[in-house]
Amino acid sequence: MENVLEPLRAAIRLLFEVTAYPVLAYFIVINSFLLLLIIFASVNFTAHLRRQSFAGARVTAASPLSPGISVLMPAYNEGAVIATSVRSVLDLRYPDHEVVVVNDGSSDETLQTLIDVYDLVEDRREVSVKVPVRGTVRAIYRARDTALPIVVVDKENSGRSDSLNMGLNVASKDLVVMVDADSLLDPDSLLVVSKPFTDDPERVIATGGVVRVANGCEVVAGRVVRVNMPKNYFARIQIVEYLRSFLLGRAGWSQLNSLILISGAFGMFRRDLVTQAGGLDPDCIGEDFELVMRLHRMMRRSKRKYRVIFIAEPVCWTEVPSTAAVLARQRRRWHRGLWEVLIKYRGMTFNPRYGTVGMIALPYYWIFELIAPAIELFGLVIVPLGLLLGVVNVPYALAFIAVAYLYAIFVSLMALLVEEASFHRYNRWGDLWVALLVSVQENIGYRQLTAIWRIQGWWAALRGKKQVWGTMTRTGFENASP
């Protein structure tokens, strides 16, 4: 027995010795980077909050010269919510916006509901094709009452991206914003997210809003009226996760003018540029990420000055997966999308021609987003093995784990701190204790599970499997129980 274990022990020891310093270096770099992002994010927030008193939303809301916005809403079997979603978008506070619903071959009553509720009639006028579309269009509808700015495209099922491309062809306003039918928008959301376009019309090409967790919140007629912590374990953890990635991550990147990931749930773009770039790539899983990368490449190559801006103010709420199965599917999908986009734009990585996007943002996503779960799993296997075989002693292993997890907790606390100092939507003391509990809790189980799921997604991408998880026409929230 002993002589069988001895070579293994030697191998593990060697592995420990070889990897100890690289892992430590990785750890130091990723954490320092996060700290830097936190600092940049704080600068971003301070600037935003100090300007609140003269944001001018009231004037913009009443101006006939504010840029028009087309709200693109793909819908696949949304019969239960579609009428409310459309109504809530029509009621948003903005002087000039239209709703473009693209019914992606729903098999339920989505289309009929819209026809009945909004008194739609068929619109036989032709549509010029600016972005190629795969799904065949069956009919286009608009309201009999021409004052009601709604267009509904009925087409055969061809996926979310293709539906959005169809929406781009029908859209008539200068700005487009992509929303999901189950997203809940605040009444001022269009004003807030379009503000950078009004303030700097020459350079701003895209803005991305924050997405917040709607689970547990009180919702009336498509609006969040009261923010609560959800009871569900997975949803709670995702609240802290979303605060971290949005409040600290994206605000920091935006400050560096290298925001490369805009959430598909609430991203606003200049229509002419998205059309020029060719719309969304229907073959790409991370289609939102891919589009933003394509815009970055287009603008950098043509040497035009441009900005992609993150909007920190919470205006969009979405239901997040509340079961392990749905969450697993979402995370596999996200990681697969990440890999596909990084591979597709590998030529931009470490390419000084693409400025901070190529030199900082892309390398960061490669090293710290893509590879992170592999390192996590490596630690998860090697530390217990080392313990078992007596290569390392118990206190040492515990200290090692404590460093990793304490740092994670510290970053979560920083996110809570920023939220508390800025938007403080979770107002009660109870909310804070729950958030604290969750920051500790997520390190035991959740963190490891997501690492596994992400590796699975990556693995699936490497093997080039198509459609492994069924027809994923929507963002992956479709089975989330309310």
Partner: protein, 122 residues
């Protein structure tokens, strides 16, 4: 017996300003902070008039009127909507929903009180 008026607005400042003005004109005023609460009060009480904001979290003023008119039995109380400048669409959909009159923000409390008196005199 004084007229009872329901004021629905999510902005407490406006709610208080309007009710102070109307109370000084001798009306009895009740208030609600959103469309849902307003609808509930309108269903369970008898009012001579409702004054409501359009943009409110949850149910909008126009939606509230729509639901009042389609309730069983329908609530046919006159409604004045407070709407923001340049929101003609609200005015159109409001009239379609059965709104009686409009006052555009920024509004003059004195003028609002005069409109109220005019409608109640009909």
């Amino acid at each position: 017996m004084p007229h009872r008026i329901l004021v629905v607005d999510d902005d407490a400042d406006i709610r208080d300003l309007v009710s102070t003005k109307l109370e000084s004109s001798g009306y009895e005023v009740e208030t609600a902070g959103d469309g849902v609460a307003g609808l509930e009060l309108a269903i369970n009480n008898e009012y001579s008039l409702v004054i409501s904001d359009v943009m409110m979290p949850g149910m909008s003023g126009v939606d509230m009127v729509r639901m009042m008119r389609s309730a069983e039995p329908p609530i046919s109380v006159p409604v004045i909507l407070l709407t923001a400048k340049n929101q003609e669409r609200d005015i159109e959909s409001g009239f379609a929903a059965g709104v009686t009159d409009y006052v555009v923000k920024p509004f003059s409390p004195r003028e609002l009180a005069a409109r109220v008196a005019g409608i109640l005199a009909r």
